[in-house]
Symmetry: C2
Subunit: 122 residues, 2 copies
């Protein structure tokens, strides 16, 4: 029912401010559902659902401590996401402006020029 690839699930899990806040909380140490729910005007069940999304993305692992089911951060998927983004790092450093010039050229050129190969190195 959720055949999405790992990276998609990671990004999808991060695409919600509530879940990001929960991760931020977990960065300070494990927490129970109640603790995680505390800052939010939201039912426990809703928090539990968010937690299950994070779990599905392997971003948190759960334990068991009496009635509590403490959640703990697992940053591995964040590393993978960061690595993916890293491939684009070059675009917000040197070549960024060069690429802008590229589009300017393009908007008054023909479609044959749509792929002008990388002239990044200048």
């Amino acid at each position: 029912m959720a055949p999405a690839d790992t990276l998609s699930r990671t990004f999808a899990a991060l695409a919600d401010p509530t879940r990001r806040a929960m991760l931020a909380r977990l960065a300070r140490g494990p927490a129970s559902v109640g603790e995680l729910a505390e800052p939010f005007d939201m039912s426990f069940a809703a928090v539990s659902k968010h937690l299950r999304v994070l779990e599905g993305a392997r971003l948190v692992t759960r334990g068991r401590d009496a009635q509590y089911r403490p959640a703990m951060l697992n940053a591995r998927p964040l590393q993978d996401a960061s690595a993916w983004l890293g491939d684009y790092r070059v675009f917000w450093t040197e070549s960024f402006d060069a690429l802008g010039v590229l589009l300017d050229d393009l908007t008054e050129a023909g479609p044959d020029d749509l792929r002008p190969d990388d002239k990044k190195e200048t």
Copy 2:
């Protein structure tokens, strides 16, 4: 209708393999919708919609060249996303294993121990 914060929109836009593939294509230079659609078994309209999502996340900007509306990568939001992930970098380096030990402790401790402070430095 889409009051989501910037980071959420960025991650949401990245949470789809089709859109990530489109960004990868755009990393090699601007492209028309037709060019972007070519690798996918999908209607132009669908690709156009994906493009609009990327546009909404400020990940691509559009130009105009005759009938063509070339799309071009804008990596700025990727930089912001990368910066957000960067805050967690520490969790997949030194302290990662220490944190694992932490949870082991926790699963047989009381909820009062749920926040055991960082013992990252071995």
